[in-house]
């Protein structure tokens, strides 16, 4: 049944794009600010619930609601930067790691208080095309396209605009950028804001496909670590490629081996890549 | 003959940082190393200390081939160095910094003896009253002296000084030169990278000049000072230098 393979590959590709989108935000923040954002998963969960509320309370169709989520993400991201990170941006890794983790604790804590940990789902359907055993879901295709679009936009923004150039300058050498007149505080806040906006919109898009709980952000956060290391730091394309490779592994390899071994493979890849080629497949220098 | 460097070549990708550098060093000698910025002086120190391993060539230190050995093994054999860009152990006290040198260098002594050595060395470099302060709190010249103290504490046979005079005022320079001579008189061989020409000229027994990774001159300070190639390396065109000297008359 060759179509089982085709279906898995298409599924793997689309899932990979979703994973890629989830990782781009983390990749940007890690690349630019040398900060590992441990609140990435929490913000994704926040994005899921925001789009859910917009849809159920105000009836806003998720894909239009995305714009609101991006705006909210930018604001929340910059706010979080100034509250939690600005003071310790030059401190050793431990402080920034724990600062972002405390933000995650706060969001998850309040989220559990408000939404408890039962699952929610958004019941929308863009139909699906299916022939033989192959079914391709409209919502998944939409999410895939949007994540490619986001990667392209981010790519153009980073490599073709002045602001993007400033962000890349800061990522290469913050002190030098400051000497060249770049307002690094604003740039760092902006990059964190963009990273969080991407995380929340990734969460929102995922919510259109899969049911979710306040804790489902954590699963994507761990996968995003693997993807960032796999795809390489600082390059948005790296996140997408890493995501696709992971999606492939989860969907296609599992046809051969029991699916419960997937996490074993994923995390072993993480450790191996870190050891052999820390800069990842497409990444810049370490 | 304490140190022999043979055809050492070091490349970073396309850039040739050291190009077949060879020289020897006698026991108790002070060897000055000069050359324009980016000539490969610090890279030479890093290769000798094992931070980088050279693509070609060999380094023999007191009859032991130390090419490619990890830095801590080379240090234990008796080489110590100071860094051009200071590397203090910020959250340890000044005395603890120096004790690290004493504990893990050639001396490789226990904590108590290291503490005694540290007090002595701090005295020689004039940091005695600051010994309980956290290293991070010192100013730049003091950090330079801490680097020297840390290197001395390991009682090395070969001491590599990387621009230890930089940023010092004339009084501090002469005091530092005094300390260096005293170290040499205790039987320690010294290699010094400096830009202060008058200082290095009158303290060194011999001078080596590096330019674009290659050794372009070697000899007594006076010989090297008048060597046209050296002047050209520093000032570009030797005739221009003579013209300038003449115009001043």
């Amino acid at each position: 049944m060759i179509d089982v393979w085709v279906d898995s590959i298409i599924g793997g590709l689309l899932l990979g794009l979703v994973y890629g989108l989830a990782a781009i935000g983390l990749n940007l923040i890690w690349g630019v600010m040398k900060v590992i954002n441990l609140s990435h998963g929490a913000f994704m969960a926040l994005g899921m619930f925001v789009i859910y509320l917009l849809f159920t309370a105000f009836g806003i169709f998720p894909y239009f609601g995305l714009v609101i989520v991006i705006g909210l993400g930018l604001v929340l991201g910059m706010l979080t930067y100034f509250v939690a990170l600005h003071r310790v941006i030059d401190a050793p890794e431990l402080s920034t790691l724990l600062a972002t983790f405390s933000v995650s604790l706060f969001i998850i804590g309040v989220g559990t208080f408000v939404f408890t940990t039962i699952p929610y789902a958004i019941d929308i359907s863009l139909g699906s095309i299916s022939f033989g055993n192959i079914t391709i879901l409209g919502t998944k295709v939409a999410t895939g396209l949007i994540s490619i679009a986001f990667t392209a936009i981010l790519y153009v923004f980073l490599y073709k605009t002045r602001l993007g150039k400033a962000i890349r300058a800061v990522s290469m050498n913050r002190v030098a950028a400051e000497l060249m007149g770049v307002n690094t505080t604003f740039i760092l806040a902006l990059s964190f804001g963009i990273g969080i906006a991407l995380a929340m919109s990734a969460g929102a898009l995922i919510a259109t496909i899969f049911p979710f709980t306040i804790l489902s952000g954590g699963v994507y956060e761990l996968k995003s670590f693997v993807i960032c290391v796999l795809g390489g730091l600082g390059s948005p394309l790296g996140a997408l490629v890493g995501g696709i490779v992971l999606g492939m592994i989860e969907n296609v390899v599992t046809l051969q081996i029991p699916t419960s071994y997937v996490p074993v493979i994923e995390f072993s890849i993480l450790v191996l890549i870190l050891l052999l080629k820390p800069s990842g497949l497409l990444g810049g220098k370490v | 003959m304490i140190l022999k460097v043979e055809n050492v070549t070091k490349r970073f990708g396309g850039l040739v940082a050291l190009n077949k550098v060879s020289f020897t060093l006698e026991k108790g000698e002070i060897l000055g190393i000069i050359g324009p910025n980016g000539a490969g002086k610090t890279t030479l120190f890093n290769v000798i200390c094992g931070v980088y391993s050279p693509e070609e060539g060999r380094i023999i230190f007191s009859d032991v081939d130390i090419t490619g050995l990890p830095p801590f093994k080379i240090t234990r054999l008796g080489i110590a160095r100071t860094h051009q860009v200071v590397k203090p152990l910020n959250d340890l006290t000044v005395k603890e910094n120096v004790m690290v040198g004493a504990c893990f260098g050639k001396s490789y002594m226990g904590l108590e003896d290291a503490e005694k050595i540290a007090e002595g060395v701090l005295d020689t470099v004039g940091l005695k009253e600051r010994s309980e302060l956290l290293a991070g709190k010192l100013n730049v010249p003091e950090k330079k002296r801490l680097e020297l103290a840390r290197a001395l504490a390991s009682q090395p046979t070969l001491l590599l000084l990387d621009e230890v005079l930089a940023g010092l005022n004339p009084l501090e320079v002469s005091k530092m030169l005094e300390v260096i001579r005293k170290i040499r008189d205790n039987g320690v061989t010294i290699m010094m990278i400096e830009h202060l020409m008058h200082a290095i000229m009158n303290v060194s027994d011999r001078i080596i000049v590096l330019d674009y990774g290659a050794k372009i001159a070697e000899g007594k300070p006076e010989e090297v000072a008048n060597n046209p190639k050296v002047i050209e390396a520093y000032l570009g065109d030797p005739d221009l230098a003579l013209k300038l000297l003449k115009k001043e008359g």
Partner: protein, 336 residues
């Protein structure tokens, strides 16, 4: 001690002698689903058991597999999926390749819902789906039509028709208030329908009260003896404790099986098994809901033609594609 909320069997073979379990243990969570399946379609044989790789789900699945094999079912697939799995599409493909008649298993809330949703999205041609935990939660209806006709075990449902008559029919004593009374009083006190957690808790108190009444004293040993002998029917169902190797395990209480059905356009939970507690007929096979969406018989025949064994395709095809993907991305980056 009378436990509620604890479904694992292992508690009862650790040698404790004073623990009595109210919940039906994990090992009998899904066995009822197989009985229901056999009753609805005696000649259907092929069952796929898939479960979340976690303690509770694995307990249930291993027991269900043993029960299935003992009762002549063919377990075509018995596989775990990693906790936290979000995309089951390739897993479903794996299941489809085995062409099961029924899929039973599941894990907790989120994965159960996701699995049900994706089974619907892929229009999986299977006659019965019975999942743990997720279907019993009211929020399951949020996945819309995907929930339709999905069944699942539950310790107790307000609709379960345990009555004095059903007790008399089985020749055992009825004790305590009726289902309606419990439902009414709970709603008055808390304002919403009781879930099975609340019912289990109340039942524990009820059983202890009965045991003390039977023993006539508060002395632990006497109450323990009364509990060992007890065999009663309550609003919560039948209560009887095991005294052998698995001392104190609940053997009287049966799981009720609910199915999401459409009552005048709204998704609603109905109890469809066991017969003693049924509030509506089981809709079987499940694929009738696709039938309702006018998917003709033609799809069935096309299926049969392709039924030959899966051709052994080399994985090279997939590796080549992955490499192509990466190189394209690399070139893209280089060119831009």
């Amino acid at each position: 001690m009378i436990t509620t909320g604890a479904a694992s069997d292992s508690i009862h073979n650790k040698g404790y002698t004073h623990i009595f379990q109210i919940y039906t243990p994990a090992s009998r969570y899904l066995t009822g689903a197989l009985d229901m399946f056999k009753a609805a379609d005696p000649n259907a044989k092929k069952v796929a058991i898939v479960y979340e790789n976690s303690k509770f789900a694995k307990d249930v699945a291993t027991a269900a597999k043993a029960y299935a094999e003992k009762n002549g079912f063919e377990v075509v697939l018995f596989e775990a999926y990693a906790p936290g799995t979000t995309d089951f599409s390739s897993f479903i493909n794996k299941i489809l390749a085995k062409k099961p008649d029924a899929i039973i298993g599941g894990g907790h809330f989120a994965d159960g819902e996701t699995f049900a949703k994706q089974l619907y999205e892929k229009k999986v041609d299977v006659k019965l789906v019975s999942l743990l935990v997720a279907p019993a939660v009211p929020e399951f209806a949020e996945i819309g039509d995907a929930a339709l006709y999905v069944t699942g075990p539950s310790q107790w449902e307000p609709l379960a028709k345990y009555t004095r008559e059903s007790a008399k029919a089985l020749g055992i004593e009825w004790y305590g208030l009726s289902v309606e009374e419990f439902d009414k009083e709970y709603k008055e006190a808390y304002g919403y329908d009781p879930g099975y957690h609340a019912a289990g808790g109340y039942a524990a108190g009820l059983v202890l009260q009965k045991a003390i009444e039977d023993a006539g004293t508060l002395d632990t040993e006497e109450v323990k003896k009364a509990l060992e002998k007890m065999d009663i029917m309550t609003f919560y169902g039948r209560i009887k404790f095991e005294t052998g190797k698995y001392y104190g395990r609940q053997i009287g209480h049966e799981m009720v099986y609910l199915q999401w059905q459409k009552k005048d356009g709204k998704l609603v939970k109905e109890v469809v098994w066991p017969d003693a507690a049924k509030s509506s007929e089981l809709v079987y096979p499940m694929t009738t809901k696709y039938g309702e969406e006018a998917k003709g018989k033609a799809k069935e025949t096309a299926e049969e033609k392709q039924a030959q064994e899966k051709p052994k395709s080399t994985p090279g095809f997939e590796v080549a594609l992955a490499i192509a993907g990466i190189s394209v991305a690399y070139l893209l980056r280089r060119k831009l």
